[in-house]
Structure formats: structure tokens, C-alpha cells
């Protein structure tokens, strides 16, 4: 799994460049909390530590990349612990998680700290390499400070505290496609650059570490569903390219939906699984109350993936003839 970590490093580096030291602290904290939790639980279960597989590092990195850059570090540590403890170790550890652990951690954080997880900060803020975002250093168990003053001081443009998806949903302002594709926009730490995530995913696909069908199916179905909505009511719904490049869809489709343990294995099942997640993402984004739906879409996809596997079992070679011969 070490190669997935390598593939995620450019995304992390871009995140640090875009959001500064806070993003670095966020990534390090999430990874450290996840690794420590896995080590601890392996010891508790009297099993050899599964940290060396590096998949827990991926969980930590992915968790950090889906959080707002100024997310308080103590909450990040809680998230890392929950992700690995609840999402992975309690199900039996490495290779037994029924959900993507990073998303379990994020879903927990979303439900526990709904305000902190929707407090976004501007990209390319002034002094981002010399100064933490104030919320990052909130004391454990204490509320993070309000961000309005700090944002007014450091922003380089008229940042209203909203990601492109929030602007689309609540203010009906659609961000242009090119900056969205390149990633110099506000958002969760590692989700902004669709281009970079695509390149990193392409590296994994080229080296055959990842099933290309899952992201292909998910992106395609999100594109088609988004396009259908757009055609039905262009004024209300953004164009399908916005759907594709905004929010966590790229990161989710390439790095989270492809979790080897929590996704189906049959060739047809993989397509159904991806298509389902893309469709659910668009439905949550357009018809639900939340601006982003990738996380719940993937968790839902994980939940039904054993059923998809059951429904799409290929015929065992030679069985039909035998049945015919019998009758």
C-alpha cells in the first residue's frame, strides 16, 4: 500500500502550499493519530502490529485531506482515533473494514462537530506559512475561536467563508471551471485540485494498484446525472463539469471509493457500485440539505457492496452444461 501513500504525497504538498502550516499540522496529526491507534489496538488484540502495511497511513492522510484546513488539531486526533478504532480495528483490523475508515472518521466528526467541519478558510491566505489558522490550535475539548476577524485580515480576495459548493448551493454563484480544475479555491485541505488528484490517480492506475472502473463509473455517473439535472433546469443546477471538479468528488472517486476491502470485486458489480455512488452524490448535492454528498454516497456504496457482489456473481465455469445434462 506504500505506493498509494506516494501517490497522495503530491496532493498533501499542494494542500500545504495552498493553505500553509495549518494544513501540514492537520495532515501530520491525522496520520499520527491513525498510526498510533492501529498500533495500540494491534497490541491490545495480541496481534502483530499492522502499521507496516501503510494502509493506516493512507487512512490518516485521506482523513486530513477531507477536513477543512483550519480544523482544530484535537478534533483531528479524535477523528483519526475513531476512523481506525471504530472504522477498522473493531471490525477485525486490516482487511476487514466494511466501510472506508477515513470516511467513518469524517462522518463521526461531521456529526459531532458540525460547526467546525463547515468553517472553511480562504486559499492562498497571506502569511499562511508563518502563521497558523487560529482555529487549528484550539485547546483540547474547547471551542475554536471565531474566524471572521482573521479572514478579513488575511484574505486576498472577497472570500465569504464558503467553498465553491456552498456558494453554488446557498448563493447560486457558480465558480469558473478552470480555477476549480486547477484547485486554487477554498475547500477541504486536499480536495481542491481535480487535476493533481487525477494525475496521482492515473499513476496508481498505470501501475495497476487501483481498479480504474470504480472512479470511471463514479465520475461518469455523476457527470451524466449532473448533466440531466442541468438540462432540465439550467438556471437552478450548475453544469456537469462543475459537478465533476468541485468538492470531494475527485478525491473520493479515486482514493476512497477504491478502498480494496470495502468495494465489490465482480467486474459488473464494480460498475454498479461506482454508478450508484456517483448518482447518490449528485442527488445529495442537488436535492438534499447539504452542499456536499460524496462522503455519504461512498459510505452507502460501501454498505451495499456485499449485496452487489452477491447479485453479480459470475457463473462458475461449466455449471450450466452440467445443469442441462441433468435435466
Amino acid at each position: 500500500m506504500r505506493n498509494v501513500v506516494y501517490a497522495l504525497l503530491p496532493v498533501c504538498a499542494f494542500s500545504v502550499w495552498l493553505f500553509g502550516v495549518s494544513a501540514l499540522a492537520l495532515i501530520v496529526t491525522a496520520a499520527a493519530a491513525s498510526v498510533l491507534t492501529e498500533h495500540l489496538f494491534s497490541k491490545l488484540a495480541n496481534r502483530p502490529s499492522s502499521v507496516k502495511d501503510f494502509s493506516v497511513v493512507i487512512t490518516g492522510l485521506l482523513l486530513a485531506l477531507t477536513l477543512p484546513p483550519g480544523f482544530p488539531l484535537w478534533m483531528t486526533a479524535v477523528g483519526g482515533f475513531i476512523a481506525v478504532a471504530l472504522g477498522k480495528m473493531l471490525f477485525g483490523g486490516l482487511g476487514f473494514n466494511i466501510f472506508n475508515p477515513a470516511l467513518v472518521g469524517r462522518a463521526f466528526l461531521q456529526a459531532a462537530f458540525p460547526v467546525a467541519i463547515t468553517s472553511y478558510t480562504p486559499a492562498m491566505a497571506r502569511d499562511r506559512f508563518s502563521e497558523f489558522i487560529p482555529t487549528t490550535l484550539a485547546l483540547p475539548f474547547m471551542q475554536p475561536a471565531a474566524l471572521t476577524e482573521w479572514i478579513a485580515r488575511v484574505r486576498v480576495d472577497a472570500f465569504s467563508g464558503a467553498t465553491p459548493l456552498m456558494q453554488q448551493k446557498f448563493d447560486h454563484v457558480t465558480t469558473e471551471i478552470l480555477p476549480l480544475f486547477l484547485g486554487k479555491v477554498s475547500g477541504s485541505a486536499g480536495e481542491t485540485s481535480a487535476l493533481l488528484i487525477l494525475l496521482c490517480g492515473a499513476y496508481l492506475i498505470a501501475r495497476n494498484f487501483m481498479d480504474w472502473r470504480i472512479p470511471a463509473a463514479m465520475l461518469l455517473s455523476a457527470f451524466l446525472a449532473g448533466g440531466a439535472f442541468h438540462l432540465a433546469s439550467p438556471a437552478q443546477y450548475p453544469n456537469p463539469f462543475f459537478v465533476l471538479f468541485s468538492g470531494g468528488l475527485m478525491l473520493g472517486a479515486l482514493f476512497m471509493a477504491t478502498d480494496m476491502v470495502a468495494s465489490p470485486v465482480t467486474p459488473l458489480g464494480v460498475w454498479i457500485y461506482g454508478a450508484l455512488m456517483g448518482l447518490v452524490t449528485v442527488i445529495i448535492r442537488f436535492l438534499g440539505g447539504l452542499p456536499e454528498g460524496v462522503m455519504y454516497a461512498i459510505l452507502l456504496g460501501n454498505a451495499v457492496s456485499p449485496m452487489i457482489d452477491n447479485l453479480t456473481q459470475p457463473r462458475v465455469f461449466g455449471t450450466r452444461k452440467k445443469a442441462e445434462a441433468k435435466s
Binding site: 478534533m75 459531532a112 462537530f113 475539548f141 474547547m142 471551542q143 475554536p144
Partner: protein
């Protein structure tokens, strides 16, 4: 109670055991995993947990006593209906009592007061214990189970209110800057907390068994 030694009345040690069973070894929530509906639904604050625990304790003791009293008069075929009637009577009493004592608690508990009627702990004790045992022992059993349930609700309510609101019984513990974990006041928080407590209890018991096992091998 000293004159109670006899063939019909149980010995004090046996009564004591039926009392302690409910508290710990057969705790209705942590060991038998019964009465999950109120356990999950109304433990979002210590106050609600207290009220529900006391109400259930009262109903359990009274219904156990009355069921034990009439156990020889009730035909087998209509026993469940009789139990329900007896339990419902006491639940109605509790319902009016809570309404008289505190309207906010009454509103917070809502339908769950009426639902004590179908609480499987109460019906379970009536069927499994009170219908086969004398009054004194049944009362003790009801007390043990009731206090065990009360204790379990308090465990859940305590964790949920402390984490979810930073308070205990409404008194803030950590000052105004505490970050509440909203999740713990919501239904999933109830499941998480119950699961965590069950984990603690089962691991305790597993450890105890492991410790006892080598001793048994030696003997």
C-alpha cells in the same frame, strides 16, 4: 425477617442473591441487553435518565409484588394479559406522578413513560420471576433489577450529557468555551455510548472468566 426461615420463604442469602443478580451479574442492560428502547431514547441527559430509572424502578417493584401476590389465582392462559394490566396500572400512577412533580421532565420523556408498559425488563421479571416466587423475594428481585437498570441509564446519561453538553444534571462542568460533541445528544450517540459500555462490561467479564479458568483446572 428472622422468623421467615422456613420451607416456603427463602433463606436470606438466597434473597440477597436475587437482589444482587439484577445489580451486577444479570444487569438488565449491560448483560441481558433488555429494555433497549428507553435506554437509547431518553438517556440524552442525566435528568431524563434519573426520571426514567426511578419510574421503571417503581413500576418494576410494585408489579413484581402484585404479580407474586396473585400468582396462584391467575389461570395460565390469561397470565400475560393480567401482567400487562397490573403493569399498566402502575405506569398510569407514575405518569400522573411525573406530570405533577415536573412538567419539563414529563415533556422530555413524552411517550416513553407510557411505553414502560411494554418494557421487556418488567414483563420479563413478571413472567420469569414473580410468577414463580413469593412476594418478598419478588420485591427484592424487582429492586435489584430496577436499581441495575437505573444504574445503567445513569452510566449512559452521564457520558452522553458530559460529552454532549459539557454538563452534569444541567450544571456546566467545563466553562463556557467547552466544545459540545453534538453527536452524543443525537440517537447515534446513544448507540455509540451503549456499545462502549457493553464493550467495557463484556471485557470485564471475559477477563474474570479467564482468571477463574486456571483455578478450575487445578481443582
Amino acid at each position: 425477617m428472622h422468623h421467615a426461615h422456613g420451607l416456603v420463604e427463602p433463606s436470606p442469602s438466597e434473597s440477597m442473591e436475587s437482589f444482587l443478580n439484577g445489580l451486577w451479574k444479570q444487569n438488565p442492560v449491560f448483560v441481558q441487553v433488555l429494555g433497549m428502547c428507553p435506554t437509547l431514547a431518553i438517556t440524552n441527559s442525566v435528568r431524563n435518565a434519573l426520571a426514567m430509572g426511578l419510574a421503571t424502578l417503581f413500576v418494576l417493584v410494585c408489579s413484581n409484588a402484585l404479580v407474586a401476590l396473585v400468582r396462584k389465582l391467575v389461570p395460565r392462559q390469561v397470565r400475560i394479559a393480567t401482567y400487562i394490566l397490573i403493569i399498566a396500572t402502575f405506569v398510569t400512577i407514575v405518569d400522573y406522578m411525573i406530570k405533577a412533580i415536573s412538567v419539563p421532565v414529563y415533556k422530555a420523556l413524552g411517550a416513553f413513560i407510557a411505553l414502560i408498559v411494554v418494557n421487556c425488563i418488567i414483563l420479563g421479571r413478571a413472567e420469569a420471576f414473580a410468577s414463580k416466587n413469593p412476594v418478598g423475594k419478588s420485591i427484592l428481585d424487582g429492586l435489584g433489577m430496577g436499581i441495575g437498570f437505573f444504574f445503567a441509564l445513569l452510566c449512559l446519561g452521564g457520558v452522553r450529557e458530559i460529552l454532549g453538553a459539557g454538563a452534569f444534571l444541567g450544571y456546566p462542568l467545563f466553562g463556557p468555551n467547552y466544545q459540545p460533541w453534538v453527536l452524543f445528544l443525537l440517537p447515534p450517540g446513544g448507540f455509540f455510548t451503549l456499545a462502549a459500555w457493553l464493550l467495557v462490561f463484556t471485557s470485564w467479564q471475559a477477563r474474570k472468566k479467564r482468571r477463574q479458568a486456571p483455578a478450575e483446572v487445578q481443582s
